[in-house]
Symmetry: D5
């Protein structure tokens, strides 16, 4: 089951904060209604707070294990996107953070869901 | 014939509202002048009102059945785009909502029509 | 020879006006200097005035015939773009209207020309 | 050697000025340090002044010959971009004008250089 | 080991400053935790100060050698991006400067990191 | 319901027989189990018998109408492919004929079915 | 755990046997050494025996469920490919059958494995 | 009207004969039934006879003018392909010659027609 | 330095031998003349001998480490391709084996080298 | 002027001969009729004779300089292809050798020319 305690962090590099984007192309969870597997791509984008203010970055291997913890979870597209956004926000307390999920369609319909924390700069908003 | 009563909804997830996009690649209706089939791609994008204000999301399978109800309908590109926009707006009362249809050309001309409800954020507008 | 009287219109759908885009991939005219044929793609994009104010849309088949009427016309890239823009503006009196032509190169140079009527919203401007 | 006197112009079409873009995919000059040939794509984009104010457009064949006049010139990426921009500005006195050059890499690095004259509208700026 | 002293510069061309972009598709360093090689694409984008104010451009061959000096360096994605940004800023004192690194994924996750110096114009920001 | 009597033919051109391929990108029928629409691309490839032996070609508009006659038919992928192959073979008595159908997946699986009449030359066989 | 008894079949259509291809883009199993998930695309291609000889086709929904039964199985690329090939061969007793699996890389290496039953026609062999 | 007398030739180069391919992306003729323009891509491929046996190549500019002579001709896909093949064969008396035409669809169907003279080597046959 | 002793193997699966392909997209070695890094993609394709005759497969992680052992080696394109082919042949004694290397160009020229062991089936040969 | 004496060679690697392919994407010569520059891509493919029989490979930098020596040469597509083939054959005395040139079109027609020495294996022949 999804486990945010897996998430590990390390201090952000000194100097003007970078913007970080990690795209996981192999996310899978289960449809809560049918039990069939869903497959998606999860993009995480955020700006850590400055190093001098205790800013941290998420460690890449822990992020992968966190994503894997959804493998047996029955959860809707909208909810899983919101949850990843909330868990990562709790883990890194970023200046801002954004989660975009892309799902290969069911019944000929493919979907993209966006969730966010804080004020996303215009250049990182949709579509 | 098109039947908006098919549309089903569920409560939006708690927290900051997500932006939701569903792209149906297999839409077909009929040309009202010639009776020949039209084939298009329908993109629906919206932000539900917050969960605390009764915000809802459209259920994916009901959306698929709603789109299928246009299969025998003779209707112009512009009208079908406007109608889907109006029917979905009635069903989910969103903060904002957008419908974009893309049509494989007739006579060497392909078309895209956009309709909307409410104030679309700049990053989700055209082209 | 180009004949704007071919253009036919129908009333815009009721409600918030849609944005309409028609892309003709098979446009051909003649180079006025050499007489050799030019081949281009013509994109027309416009927002009709509201239905309640007499807003109209261009009928697709008449648009196709109008474009075909340039087949034997010797005319420069810049002039044909301007003329299509002016003729369509006269035909539909839109809120705004935009014509973009893309030409397969001559002498290793390909070209794109843009003409417009009214105030184009930022999201529909270049490049 | 580069020869701006080759550039020929013709009057801009009447009415609201168009935006014109010519992309030459077969530009070659020489590296001033090694003498080896450089190969690039040159994009020219500009808005002529209105026809009523004496606005002119660059003639396409003369533009091609002007580009060919760089074939034996040893000149840096940055300088050739600046020079084309200055020569064309002198030839057409545009409302604004932009030159973008794209160079197939040397040593595994490819480059893009942008130069401009006047105030470029936001929609035609980078990246 | 990374060596910024390799970086060589030359005077910016006279006139309105150009915007310069160099994309190195063959960057490699080492993961500081596992010692395994990382492979990335490094995009550098900057506007030199005007020639009249002593503005300079980075010389392309020296840039290549500078990038090669990371080949045996164990360094995180975030840190290498920040360091290249800082080293180049020191070398060319630009009006603004931006470094974007794209990394082929590890564990099914690919990453993009952005660092910057000065005020980046909106058209050169993300995503 | 599917109606092969719609198919019209015209005499093959004189001389060495041509090979003819028509690709219909907008085919739709119904799943016989669920009633849901299926969407596919149908490729027809054949060599008519020589004109001197009474060889004929299928007329394009009649082919389109024939395909449209499947719109309300519940029929499996394998059966519709076989049937189109048999109906066309009956209509044009070709030297050889081939039908390939490509179906956008159901349940994350997409399919291609091939049927044929006569001896297909090696260069026109799979995959 | 993988369960071939899920596989269901139906009689092949009468007439010259078709060639059938099903591509499942969402296959996942586990690495037997690390327990980490593997993600692949599985292509099944076969020719059923003629209907008159008892030839059968695999039913699509049962194929999907069969693939899903590998979700918790620790199994090597080579073994899973061999096993799917053997299970399907047992289920449909085809004239010939081929399984191709494509795996998103681990450690920067992506893989393709091919297994087969019977004599594959040349046009359906690699690469 | 189509005029094969436009076609000009020059002697094939000495030595082992080359294989020559010219692809014209801007061919247009008229539909003989509706009078509407057709747009296609014409690929010509041939091997001239050896220079020592009087082998010749078609001159490129004359080929272009020959293709342009179809601009006002009402002619079916199959017939125009056969005619170009016959005219070119008469003009260059090649060892073998092949014409492939690709047509942007009408009514959602796109077409490819192949005609040939002599024995085409296997590697230049379909699909 | 390149070290074939790193290569590890495991028994081929029982039954008809599979064909195995591993594509490493991140190979780097050094140019023996200039010392500059080369970057390439290495594709390994082979058929193991049958399991009953002692056939083995190369273990994926050991293959990755073997490739990494070329990182500091100065070696020509042709020689590294030949060497990888020879080392893998020694390690797995395959029925046949093929190595294809693709190199991002130097001086505007990109290269592909092919080496092989045993009789490669036609469908796995070039280009 | 073209100068085959620039071509340098080195001994082929020991063992079963490799197949070598070099693709030069930046070739330019002049049209002998108009003097305008032509731009093409030149692909060279060959198998050297075995090392034990004195087989040699062409050195990459000398190949680049040899190609550059055509920069000011007025020469037809067919002739330049034949000449490169003959010059390289003289330089490396290969088992077989093939030259393919691809030319960005003139007058809307692009061209590919193939020349060869010796018996080209089927898998390396057209189209």
């Amino acid at each position: 089951m999804p486990d945010a305690s897996i998430l590990d962090v390390f201090p952000a590099p000194a100097g003007d904060p970078v913007v970080i984007e990690h795209t996981a192309e192999e996310f899978t969870s289960l449809c809560p209604k049918t039990g069939h597997p869903d497959f998606g791509v999860v993009t995480l984008r955020y700006r850590p707070r400055p190093a001098g203010e205790g800013g941290v970055c998420v460690e890449l291997k822990s992020l992968k294990l966190y994503y894997q913890s959804f493998r047996d979870e029955g959860i809707f597209y909208e909810a899983v996107t919101r949850r990843i956004c909330d868990d990562l926000t709790a883990a890194v307390s970023p200046a801002w953070l954004q989660v975009i999920t892309d799902w290969r369609g069911r019944g000929g319909i493919r979907s993209r869901i966006r969730a966010q924390t804080g004020e996303i700069p215009p250049e990182y908003r949709g579509p």
